[in-house]
């Protein structure tokens, strides 16, 4: 499944400073749908090159990271249970900064 993943608000530093990634992710064997719950560990293993604790906490994103699926807050789509489709755009923005 081809997806576009974007990282902002400083999170891109965890992925070699690349903000936009075009990726191809396959659902878990035996399943025909890909949910956010499956995508997060995939991102952690394949895209996050340093400090994974800045991105994930447990099986969810670290609190303070905003997730948008096709420009819509993922909390409106089911959060971890949201199902992804071909060509979806998922954006992760860290809201933790400033001082």
């Amino acid at each position: 499944m081809r997806l576009t993943l974007e990282f902002g608000g400083g999170l891109e530093l965890l992925c070699n400073s690349i903000k936009i990634h075009h990726v191809d992710v396959s659902p878990k064997t035996g399943e025909d749908t890909l949910s956010m719950r499956d995508l997060l560990p995939w991102i952690e293993s394949n895209l996050i090159k340093e400090r994974p604790e800045m991105f994930v906490k447990g099986d969810c994103v670290r609190p303070g990271v905003l997730v948008l699926i096709n420009d819509c807050d993922w909390e409106l789509c089911g959060s971890l249970d949201a199902v992804l489709e071909e060509k979806d755009v998922v954006v992760f923005i860290s809201t933790l900064h400033g001082g």
Binding site: G64, V91, T95, G98
Partner: protein, 223 residues
């Protein structure tokens, strides 16, 4: 800041940075003859500050930290218009409006106390987002017991800026840096007339006359 951290180490960085930045903002505003100074503190910041002051028992700050306007009787009042706006809303607004902003992480703050309050509040927000506004509301409704002694506002003997002690924090910290005393001005004074803080201040004030410090006299600025 890099030089300051070389002198003081990796602890208490926020104290130095915050105090000097605030001083720079105030003096810059005065130089520009501004009427008001407005900062971008948001709801998350306010809630973190309330919690932080509770955790540290800083009663004086606890009583003031939720005011949306401060320093009204001073030369340049300060205001926080985003006091009730969630950081999440601000980030989403910036994203959709394609606004450019700095999001670099402060390299000296990983062990800052505020970080723990922030982590806690973020966890709370996930479970019950209204908690942030509720914490602010609690903070607004704190009333300090009349038997608690509160610091009085005066002026700094060295630079003339407002201060609750004989020397303002900026002058105290600067003195510490110049004399290789990184702990000067750090740590709590037990009671308003603690021997330690008093002793330090007396030692410093006796040198005011013959000093060659960089601290600029506030009196030369036309408020």
């Amino acid at each position: 800041m890099d030089e300051i951290v070389k002198t003081i180490g990796l602890k208490n960085n926020c104290t130095f940075c915050g105090v000097f930045r605030r001083q720079a903002l105030d003096r810059g505003a005065a130089l520009m003859r501004a009427d008001k100074l407005v900062t971008g503190h948001n709801a998350d910041d306010m809630a973190e500050t309330v919690l932080l002051n509770i955790l540290r028992g800083d009663i004086a700050r606890l009583s003031r930290c939720t005011f949306i306007i401060t320093g009204e009787d001073g030369p340049i009042p300060r205001c926080k218009p985003f006091k009730y706006t969630y950081e999440k809303e601000i980030v989403m607004y910036a994203y959709f409006k394609k606004l450019d902003y700095f999001s670099t992480e402060c390299i000296y703050s990983p062990n800052a106390y505020r970080g723990f309050a922030r982590e806690f509040i973020k966890d709370l927000e996930r479970i019950r987002p209204q908690a942030i506004l509720d914490i602010i509301r609690s903070g607004e409704n704190f009333r300090i017991s009349t038997s608690t002694k509160m610091p009085e506002q005066g002026t700094c003997e060295r630079c003339g800026y407002i201060s609750s002690q004989k020397l303002c924090k900026a002058c105290l910290l600067l003195e510490g840096l110049n004399r290789g005393l990184p702990k000067l001005g750090i740590g709590r004074s037990r009671g308003l007339n603690s021997a330690k803080e008093d002793g330090e201040q007396r030692m410093l004030r006796s040198e005011v006359k013959g000093s060659n410090l960089q601290s600029k006299q506030c009196g030369t600025l036309d408020f």
